[in-house]
Symmetry: C2
């Protein structure tokens, strides 16, 4: 869930009023956009879950929480996965779930340790499909060095689920001194991306709705814990996040709002592979809003940027890392991108879904 703390409901830049586009009160029922990871997801948290949970809620219900138990600093994170189809080019819902939770721990600065797995299976789902997904989970967990230690399986009647839903919740250990929070981001900080963007969303879309783009795009699902460890060993990282639902646009917006800084992206530095660019052109999508499952965005002090980039590039999963922008004191909470033509456009928090059920 996006962190919505510390941000007024409306900000203004260059005379344009920005207002949360879909107030909760205008949507009496859940719509797909509430699961987008964008503004509507934030509305749901801010105006429904947080008030309903009341004093039981802590940490703004963020993507992950740091908890102190018995003298240990732990990172704790949960994600349910409903991607459709469950098997797509480059991965399955199983490795996606394991890598997604490993990555939420990794970008919290933690060393991933154990995961729980909870399945909601639809009656009639072939056991062979479940076994295939479970094998992918096992392989992903072994690759990431995490153990699957506890689980649960529920079955719902046919027509009341959709094959396989899986929740993975993870626990990681935090080294002393690691302090990854959007509130640490300051004007001047450099924004780094660990590699090519938009790949996962296009990979899932390409095998759905009968769409074909000539080239097969494979999901970038991958565990980032070694990349984050390399980064943390190099410099004092202020903030990291994996830009999944809502893409880089959602992630950078959430950080900008929570940090109360502006962000200026340089569009021509964004690493968009040709196949993603082509597919986005065809479909009218913006690669900044398309989900990634094996990339991270990091915010570091300007003096650390070169060392951080070198650390990212030292790992195969960060080889194509680049700096894509910087934080500024102007337009706090707002992300702007300098276009290839020299103009500037606002990169809003996405309101709702471009691509539903991609994770």
């Amino acid at each position: 869930m996006p962190d919505r703390t510390g941000q007024p409901a409306a900000v203004t830049i260059d005379g344009d009023g920005w207002v949360c586009p879909v107030p909760l009160r205008d949507a009496p029922n859940i719509v797909m956009g509430h699961g987008s990871g964008g503004a509507m997801s934030g509305e749901l948290i801010e105006h429904l879950f947080l008030p309903a949970f009341g004093a039981a809620a802590a940490n703004g219900l963020g993507d992950s929480a740091v908890v102190d138990i018995g003298g240990s600093r732990l990172a704790f994170t949960t994600d349910s996965f409903v991607v459709k189809p469950t098997v797509f080019p480059g991965g399955t819902i199983g490795d996606l779930a394991v890598n997604g939770t490993v990555n939420d721990l990794a970008v919290a600065g933690a060393h991933p340790r154990v995961l729980s797995t909870a399945f909601i299976l639809e009656e009639g789902t072939p056991l062979a499909e479940i076994a295939h997904v479970a094998e992918a989970m096992g392989a992903a967990a072994r690759a990431a060095g995490v153990h699957l230690v506890t689980g649960d399986t529920k079955v719902v009647d046919a027509g009341h689920g959709d094959g396989i839903f899986v929740n993975t919740t993870g626990l990681g250990s935090l080294a002393p001194g690691v302090d990854i929070r959007p509130q640490r981001v300051r004007p001047g900080d450099v924004v780094l991306i660990s590699g090519e963007i938009g790949v996962h969303g296009i990979a899932v879309l390409s095998c759905r709705e009968g769409l074909e783009f000539g080239t097969t795009v494979h999901s970038d699902t991958a565990p980032l814990h070694e990349v984050t460890a390399a980064l943390l060993a190099t410099c004092d990282v202020h903030m990291m996040r994996d830009p999944t639902r809502g893409g880089v646009a959602a992630t950078v917006n959430e950080v900008a709002r929570a940090a109360n800084v502006g962000v200026r992206l340089e569009e021509n530095t964004l690493p968009v592979p040709a196949a993603v660019s082509d597919a986005c052109g065809l479909l009218g999508l913006d690669p900044l809003y398309v989900a990634n499952e094996g990339k991270l965005v990091a915010f570091v002090a300007p003096g650390d940027a070169d060392r951080a980039l070198a650390a990212l590039r030292s790992h195969p999963l960060g080889r194509q890392a680049v700096a894509v922008g910087e934080c500024v004191a102007e337009h706090p909470g707002v992300v702007a991108a300098r276009t290839g033509l020299g103009g500037t456009r606002i990169v809003d928090l996405p309101a709702s879904e471009q691509l539903p059920r991609i994770c």
Copy 2:
């Protein structure tokens, strides 16, 4: 998930051969019984998930795991809830989820600390229903003294979910010396139940399928952490479990198998309320197999039984606690019940679902 460790596939008692009634190979697709918490759930874990996860699996994927991180002993547990309807007499899917996860931590001997919450919502679900459920979660969490610290929301298209599914995953701290494991159960141990059985399952069933039983049965959903704390302060508890899916029968069978002891229950000591008894008689159900959501089964040494019973009865949620049987060296892995008529019947692990989607 039931613990299936250390138990041969078939056991024999009194000349009757017991064989797992539904081998996985005979079910090419998922059926409701795979979510029963009974023999078919065990088959799925043993023959599908554990082999597929391979070396990544640890702890036999039990209901909860004890993990050591940074010198802290923690209990970790996950559960997804798919109960239908989401609001029933005495509770909602929200408090059921919080209490269910609190109880899984409590019966592991842990002090519940933090929970994650992950929703899978169906497009079109009224926000008012979600708010009602979330308020119940907040109230249950406050009552249990746990914080909801991280979350996730996914939305699936109409017709591919069923209103509200929620996963709660919990983390608790374990005091030094607490060691709750079925392997600690020995012949002679006394079996205690904290109160009346079968209430939750009948409560859910009573408001579904248009059934009415004259008296409204209210779910017993409740947090048991204070009851378990009172018990642990009194004696060295060998094993505890909350008898949810599959009821007392499933729980006692799982413990008997993992401990390799026999269990003899005294049927006339089982606390079955009249309304549950009546409903079960009408529907052909056995109260031993009906789910509970606010009860625990404990195994203690015979010399501790009186103290343990007194400790249970000292708490409002354990006021009706009773001893219902004992562990024996004979028929290891098998549960037998002495009936009111003086005969003995085998209380098998349920094969599949009596009552689907009750949690």
